[in-house]
């Protein structure tokens, strides 16, 4: 039986993923101020861009990408997540991005298959 290269290539690498996410967010909403009419398009763009870059990594993972865009108005927001998975292979990463008029929070969950 061949010994397959498991472990190294099939672990969730947080640094790589966070770089991809940051680039997607910057690219999609980089220098813009909050605009209600465009926010729908922005969330879609951020998420789809991230997902396509993640799939290009070619790793045997299923991905869940969540994006929250919120206008800066002094209101508070709390987020929590609880996951039932295999700790050795699966992982998550959250990127918080902000400019003068809005916040963008992107969470990526990667589950090995």
């Amino acid at each position: 039986m061949d010994e397959f290269q498991t472990g190294e290539e099939t672990a969730f690498v947080v640094d790589e993923v966070s770089t991809i996410i940051k680039e997607s967010v910057e690219g999609a909403i980089g220098g813009n101020a909050y605009q209600h009419s465009r926010v729908n398009q922005w969330t879609t763009n951020v998420v789809e861009q991230s997902l396509s870059q993640l799939s290009k990594l070619g790793k045997p993972f299923k991905y869940i990408v969540t994006c929250v865009i919120m206008q800066k108005n002094g209101a508070g927001l709390q987020t929590a997540s609880s996951c039932f998975w295999d700790n050795t292979t699966d992982g998550s990463c959250t990127v918080r991005w902000g400019n003068k008029s809005m916040y963008c929070i992107v969470s990526v969950f990667g589950l090995a298959i």
């Binding site: 909050y34 508070g76 709390q78 609880s82 998975w85 969950f109």
Partner: protein, 177 residues
């Protein structure tokens, strides 16, 4: 054979060591097109403390089950009811307060995860995501996309609102092939 496995485990642990730090680093956005962007991004990944102190199990080689699809599908409607039930009972009369809601999000996500686990749907991995926010004049959009097998994997979502806060709960169920 076991040495190779031990070596791999050690390498994995070293890599994981950087992941488990409660770290966050600031990155200034690069200057592009001559305009300085005043945006800041931070990355955070929080893991349970003490989790990486255990001896890492060597990666388990699974045998073929010759199962193409799950024996029991994920009960979306049941989970919808669970979400509605939990959010209503925990948040019906609450006002938004930063510290209280911080604890509340963590508690609610654990409670929902426990109740979904009680359903005992075999071979499904569960992800529960809760957001609780203050109701003020702001606008907000939450979106998510998933790269998975749509015949087996699914999600469930519920939102709740009272006079001072709103809450959104998402549960994703991913089949482990």
């Amino acid at each position: 054979m076991s040495d190779l496995a031990k070596e791999k485990a050690a390498r994995l642990l070293k890599k994981r060591g950087s992941v488990s730090s409660l770290g966050s680093h600031d990155v200034r956005a690069k200057e592009t097109g001559g305009k300085i962007k005043d945006s800041i991004s931070t990355v955070s990944y929080i893991d349970e403390p003490g989790h990486h102190d255990d001896n890492p199990r060597p990666a388990v080689q699974m045998e073929n089950t010759f199962q193409l699809a799950p024996l029991r599908r994920f009960p979306v409607l049941t989970v919808n009811d669970i979400l509605k039930d939990v959010l209503d009972s925990y948040l019906q009369e609450e006002k938004y307060e930063a510290e209280l809601c911080r604890q509340m999000t963590k508690t609610i996500s654990e409670v929902i995860k426990a109740r979904v686990k009680d359903l005992m749907v075999p071979r499904y991995k569960i992800i529960v995501l809760i957001s609780i926010g203050q109701l003020s004049d702001q606008n907000m959009r939450i979106g998510s996309r998933c790269l998975w097998d749509s015949s087996n994997d699914t999600f469930s979502s519920h939102s709740f609102k009272n006079s001072s806060l709103f809450a959104v709960a998402n549960v994703y169920a991913v089949y482990f092939e």
